[in-house]
């Protein structure tokens, strides 16, 4: 089920009413959320519910086993089982064909032809997200940071909680799981902020991302016939498409959770106003970046130790992060590129230089800040070309063709449709950058604005039919 679908429009109020008016006890509310989450996921393909259930049972059981054992080797053994099962499932469903193809191709490079036996594997929606969420539970229990859950329903609901099940934010067990143990009270302010987040998320998705998506598809699928300027515009549109799409989904997920009395972690913090790439990564897909930081980067040494170790660790985390996004060398390359951009900051100890908000006490940025923002946006957009392209070769040809300076003006006219939307979006985001979401309005006029926003969503939603979210494929 998609957040921007008619089904969800019926699903959400139904679950909301049942949750607050019928199932008033905590336990029954958890059962309702679990059933609702399975319906939400099963709407796409009910067969893959078995994977979630399997993962849930395995980690729940291992959590209990970990709590009963003080023997370190046994505890390690349980942890390894969890890692093998979860990463094994992820590896099989997401990466099997990739590894087979890469293996065959690499032998092919030496002139040895091998039989390709790729399987017709469907990638289960959201597998990368819920796998990481269950892993965080087992690792935290192993590290004694979290008491294992003895409530199977609460744990199963934590794994499959529908607002963030298929595209995050990737919640930590330490943050989300305890919320299933407590009685939830309806809070008006929280529910209103949830609705605002949902509305703003829909604007990001339906207005910004989907409008850009049409232009991006047009340009990227036809890049060999487009001029340099059109290709630059295509990359910029993609930067806003992926941001609007993914952060829009996160906003809707966080907003929906608030309607049920849950607080999820923030996933995006105005990343395109970052002044360097390190700041960008602190503001982009925060739940994944911090997951990798806590469960991979720090355990392998982080930024401590010799320069070579630091460099190795940075590359490991960025390459793995790239690979997490998809079974394609383009994602790995994209990760590597970001590592290259990040490295100079780390080596000069400047990676934590910009931790505050840009132009914190001013309306506009200084010239230097503006320049830094533009440079950071440019290199980020450059790396998005690899993320969006089908193959690395396509990306290189795309970049090469950017320097084709013919036919400039007609291209601007041809693709101008997305520009005003992006411009308005940037302005709104800039003035809201100190807030959690952009819909913070004057009290008197707020209803007028809500209606305008809602009508804009309705207008665009009625054009873009059946548009899905990019991050579902991850």
């Amino acid at each position: 089920m998609l957040f921007n679908s008619f089904e969800f429009l019926l699903f959400l109020p139904t679950v909301f009413i049942l949750y607050w008016f019928v199932f008033k006890q905590r336990k029954s509310q958890n059962i309702l959320l679990l059933v609702a989450s399975y319906v939400f996921y099963g709407w796409w393909d009910w067969r893959f519910l078995s994977l979630i259930l399997f993962s849930t049972v395995v980690d729940f059981t291992l959590g209990l086993a970990l709590s009963k054992s003080n023997d370190l080797s046994k505890r390690k053994y349980f942890l390894w089982i969890s890692l093998c099962v979860n990463l094994g499932l992820l590896g099989f469903f997401k990466y099997y064909n990739f590894f087979v193809d890469s293996w065959v191709e690499s032998w092919g490079n030496f002139g040895i032809q091998m039989h390709r036996s790729a399987l017709n594997i469907i990638l289960p929606v959201g597998i990368s997200f819920y796998t990481f969420q269950t892993l965080s539970y087992t690792i935290d229990v192993y590290r004694n940071k979290l008491d294992p859950s003895k409530d199977f329903i609460a744990f199963a609901t934590y794994v499959s909680f529908f607002p963030q099940l298929v595209a995050g934010p990737i919640e930590r067990a330490t943050n989300l799981l305890p919320q299933f143990y407590k009685k939830r009270e309806f809070n008006y302010e929280r529910a209103v902020s949830g609705m605002k987040l949902i509305l703003w998320g829909l604007i990001k998705k339906v207005v910004v991302a989907d409008t850009c998506a049409r232009l991006v598809n047009l340009i990227f699928e036809n890049y060999q016939n487009e001029s340099g300027l059109a290709l630059v515009m295509g990359a910029v549109f993609f930067a806003f498409q992926i941001y609007g799409d993914f952060s829009g989904y996160s906003d809707i997920a966080i907003g929906t959770s608030r309607l049920f009395g849950f607080d999820l972690m923030r996933n995006f913090n105005y990343p395109y106003f970052s002044r360097d790439i390190a700041e960008f990564w602190r503001r982009w897909h925060i739940s994944l970046s911090t997951w990798f930081r806590d469960y991979l980067y720090i355990p392998i040494g982080g930024s401590k130790g010799k320069q070579l170790v630091k460099i190795r660790n940075v590359f490991i985390i960025f390459l793995v992060s790239g690979f997490w996004h998809g079974a394609n060398w383009t994602f790995v390359f994209w990760g590597g590129l970001n590592a290259l951009f990040f490295l100079p900051l780390l080596l000069r100890n400047k990676n934590r230089k910009n931790t505050n908000q840009v132009a914190e006490k001013r309306l506009t940025p200084t010239f230097q800040e503006l320049l830094q923002i533009c440079i950071t946006f440019s290199i980020t957009t450059f790396s998005w070309i690899f993320f969006r392209s089908e193959t690395i070769n396509d990306a290189f040809v795309y970049i090469e063709r950017i320097f084709n300076f013919s036919n400039f003006i007609p291209d601007v006219i041809k693709h101008k449709k997305g520009l005003p939307i992006i411009l308005i979006f940037i302005i709104i985001e800039w003035f809201s950058r100190k807030q959690e979401y952009a819909i913070v309005l004057d009290k008197k006029l707020r209803y007028v604005f809500y209606l305008i926003f809602a009508f804009v969503v309705l207008y665009y939603a009625s054009i873009q039919k059946n548009s899905t979210f990019i991050y579902f494929q991850f």
Partner: protein, 304 residues
Amino acid sequence: MNLFIKKILVLVTILTSTYLFLGFFADGYTDPFYLRFTSPKQKSLIIGTSRAAQGIQPKLLNENLIHSRYKPVFNYSFTLLHSPYGETYFNAIKAKVNDKINDGLFILAVDPWSISSRNNINYEIETKKELGRLQFYNMNPNYDYLMNAYRNSVFGLLNKKDTSMLLHQDGWLEVNVSMESDELLRRKLFKKKQYLDNAKIYEFSKKRMFWLHKTVEFLQKYGTVILVRIPVGDEILKIENTFFPNFDLVINQNFLNISYLNYKEFGNEYSYIDGNHLYKKSGEKFTLKLAKDINNIIVCNSLN
């Protein structure tokens, strides 16, 4: 909680009623398909692609068919991309036929393309288009169509820009384009190129043939089925003859007991807006001829 729900309800009510209200503005100018999904189930249908959608005028058929039991006839044809013979079109037809009658008339336009598939994609293209997206085919206003299939925003229903096409209540698509020689030549060249390209990527499909059989068998339960090959211009016919030389033989052999009215040799008697679709005046002439021939078939059948 109550305050929250009240506010949300107000917002939802405003949005929903606006949407519902806008639905009433949808009409024959909305797009070339919408009205066909707003009529109730039909007794007699014209089935086929855009050649039939533009070339057969139900109003004239109704006026000229001798047997009133077939009337009214409804044009339920779309385009080659939307309604080649296949499961999607079959389901749409099934939903449109009034299954309480058994004396309807079903005119099935056939041509080499409507039983062929593209060989460069591994799915049937119509499944992704309007007919494949619908659950409700007989609803007025059809919000299912407006929500899931309509290609513009519902707010666009207030602003009708394109008056070159008018879909009539009986399903006939009236196309009003300039017949000035320059414009005509440009359209002809474009269409010719399009069909030359099609000839490279299309091939006869057993699957489509299977669904044509299934469609015929299904419709025979509800009345008389007649297959028709609508005339086209010389250039397009030449391409078709090269692409599928024994098409008529295939149709005749596969549908021995079904009348097949083949007008391909009479292409020169009509004019076309692009060499492929009958100009509306020629459409009138062709429909009258078709009505006459159908009357003859029915008389012959009744004598037998």
